[in-house]
């Protein structure tokens, strides 16, 4: 009788474990939108510190982390060292970080900050027009992660999670760049 009970309990345990093993895994929640839900990131024309005009199209084929920030923004200062790290870590795989500063004081404020924080990616001087193109950027930081096809794959408003950025970058970098068609000028790279 005791053995029969033991066997029954073992059976129940085995069925339970089997059920767990076969249970569908909870999908990891991604911050990256499905490709069908992504919209093209608006084109912009802004200048860098050297006065060079930069367009988003210059980065075609790259994954772009587009960070709207300002020197007076505390939460931006938390994220910027992450972006410096990402630029170093993922540049060779096709990531470009681009900072769009919304400082009213322009390069006078930005240049010392860039040096102090050892920013290793391109910084552009933003304006309200560009902010409006991107849905009226008011809260800083606001960061758009753009896929290799120039579509917005994720948007992060306010201080976000480093892991969310990194997961998005890793996921988007896994998609190979589309081949550049013959005769199309290649403006890639900063």
């Amino acid at each position: 009788m005791r053995n029969a009970l033991r066997l029954a309990l073992l059976g129940i345990t085995a069925v339970g474990l089997g059920t767990l093993a076969c249970a569908p895994q909870e999908p990891v929640k991604s911050v990256v939108k499905d490709t069908k839900d992504r919209k093209h990131a608006p084109e912009f024309e802004l200048k860098d510190v050297n006065g060079k005009v930069v367009h988003l199209a210059d980065y075609k084929g790259k994954v772009v982390l587009l960070d709207f920030w300002a020197t007076w923004c505390g939460p931006c200062g938390i994220e910027i060292p992450w972006f410096v790290e990402f630029q170093r870590k993922y540049k060779d795989r096709g990531l470009e970080v681009v900072g769009i500063s919304m400082d009213d004081d322009g390069w006078k404020a930005i240049t010392p900050f860039v040096g102090e924080h050892k920013i290793n990616y391109r910084v552009l001087l933003g304006d309200d027009k560009t902010g409006d193109l991107y849905g009226g950027v008011e809260a800083l930081p606001t960061t758009f992660v753009v896929d290799r096809e120039g579509r917005v794959a994720s948007v992060h408003v306010g201080l976000a999670s480093k892991k969310d950025f990194e997961d998005a970058i890793e996921q988007l970098l896994q998609t190979p760049a589309a081949p550049v068609s013959a005769g199309t000028p290649d403006h890639r790279g900063a």
Binding site: W72, C73, G74, A139, L159
Partner: protein, 134 residues
């Protein structure tokens, strides 16, 4: 959404020639937001600043609200901020040769606000008071 600092209208200020007068501005930030105080704890932060630009009165000093030291998720150290309702007091001297009658005293109140995760561009609120010089 960017918060708006509301400044209460100030009743007409009576000013005697050759004397002194005080103007108190009462301002309110919505709950959940803070603005840097007049003396922020970090050099990169934009201070709360009242500037009087025109009018019959002569500036004699501004007293800003006592800041609170608050810790936020984006700051390692507590920050010197103002929240909720606060007052800014300005002392004026009334020139002996000021013209009699009502006149406008104008200025701007500049602030830069944040919540716990994001910051918003600095804004300037116009300040207009009516001064009755006697």
């Amino acid at each position: 959404m960017a918060p708006t600092l509301k400044v209460e209208p100030v009743p007409t200020v009576k000013a005697k020639k050759g004397g002194e007068t005080t103007v108190t501005l009462k301002a309110t930030l919505p709950a959940g937001y803070h603005a840097n105080s007049n003396k922020p704890s970090e050099a990169y932060l934009i201070p709360l600043t009242l500037k009087w630009t025109a009018g019959p009165l002569q500036l004699d000093g501004i007293t800003y609200p006592k800041p609170e030291m608050e810790k936020y998720s984006f700051s390692e150290k507590p920050l010197s901020v103002v929240t909720g309702e606060f007052a800014i007091t300005t002392k004026f001297k009334v020139p002996a040769d000021a013209q009699n009658g009502p006149a406008a005293q104008t200025g701007t109140l500049r602030y830069q606000a944040c919540d716990n995760k994001a910051c918003y561009p600095p804004k300037s609120v116009p300040v207009n008071i009516t001064v009755s010089v006697e």
